[in-house]
């Protein structure tokens, strides 16, 4: 089994608790009983609209931040790949040197 297969085997889904579905369905009954304006989704939407009006640049800043993080991840990966390659080259040199002695 190669490493990919070992990872897949290790990460097979963990079953939800036995009563999970019953609890979810039970909560939907309670949610249905709330008046529309008290439902969590409605409140969340109202809060989001209020925030959007107050901080219009937040979305732009967030997107910039995400771009920066992605660029950083790529830079780290590139340098990490360089390190691995330099190590491999060193090992090859050492291997060749040992064999010549």
């Amino acid at each position: 089994m190669n490493f990919d297969d070992e990872l897949r085997a290790a990460l097979q889904r963990e079953p939800a608790p036995a009563d999970f579905a019953a609890r979810v369905l039970g909560k939907t009954t309670k949610t249905r009983a709330l008046p529309l304006w008290r439902r969590p989704a409605a409140l969340a939407i109202a809060a989001a609209l209020a925030l959007t009006a107050l901080v219009p640049s937040a979305v732009y800043q967030y997107r910039q931040h995400r771009r920066a993080i992605e660029a950083r991840d790529q830079l780290i990966l590139a340098l990490s790949i360089a390190r691995v390659q330099l190590q491999q080259v060193r090992e090859r040199i050492q291997h060749n040197t040992r064999h010549k002695i």
Binding site: L7, R13, L25
Partner: protein, 163 residues
């Protein structure tokens, strides 16, 4: 097309719970979040066109909720016994032990890499789908996979040497 909510819960509860518990490393928190996500879906049931649509929606929702929850936790650290990994039970089955070790190592990966690995190896999504789901470039997804596998392999080899 009317979708059967109970059926959606039954079909997707393991997927949602498993992503949450493996990402958050906290069973109680994962259950709470998983329930929340299903309740969110319930609010939007009219927009759901099919069981497949529901699965995609749930997967995306739980990923983003997990990432948000992890960010919140960084600001207010929680210390709970259920967050402490239990000592590995002695097992005569080397495969079981290997699986457990691999799971623990995945759970120790940085958050972004952890989610990418879970979506690739637990959910079997390809890098393009993962990129779309997590709003990141495909090259970043591949970078994180490359590095994560190298880290996991290295740690596993180190553990083998020390055993």
């Amino acid at each position: 097309m009317a979708v059967d909510f109970a059926g959606i819960v039954a079909d997707n509860q393991s997927m949602v719970f498993s992503i949450a518990v493996r990402f958050l490393r906290d069973r109680e928190g994962a259950e709470e979040l998983a329930q929340d996500v299903f309740l969110q879906l319930y609010q939007k049931l009219r927009e759901i066109e099919s069981p497949a649509h529901a699965t995609g929606w749930l997967r995306r929702a739980i990923c983003h909720r997990c990432i948000d929850e992890a960010r919140k936790r960084k600001l207010r650290p929680r210390i709970g016994l259920d967050a402490v990994p239990e000592p590995l039970a002695e097992s005569r089955n080397p495969d079981l032990l290997l699986n457990e070790r691999l799971r623990r190592m995945v759970e120790e990966l940085p958050e972004s890499a952890r989610m990418v690995v879970l979506l690739r190896y637990q959910e079997d999504l390809d890098p393009g789908d993962i990129a779309e789901m997590l709003n990141m470039p495909v090259s970043t997804v591949k970078s994180q996979l490359h590095r994560s596998l190298a880290v996991l392999r290295g740690r596993l080899e180190k553990q083998e040497i020390c055993r």
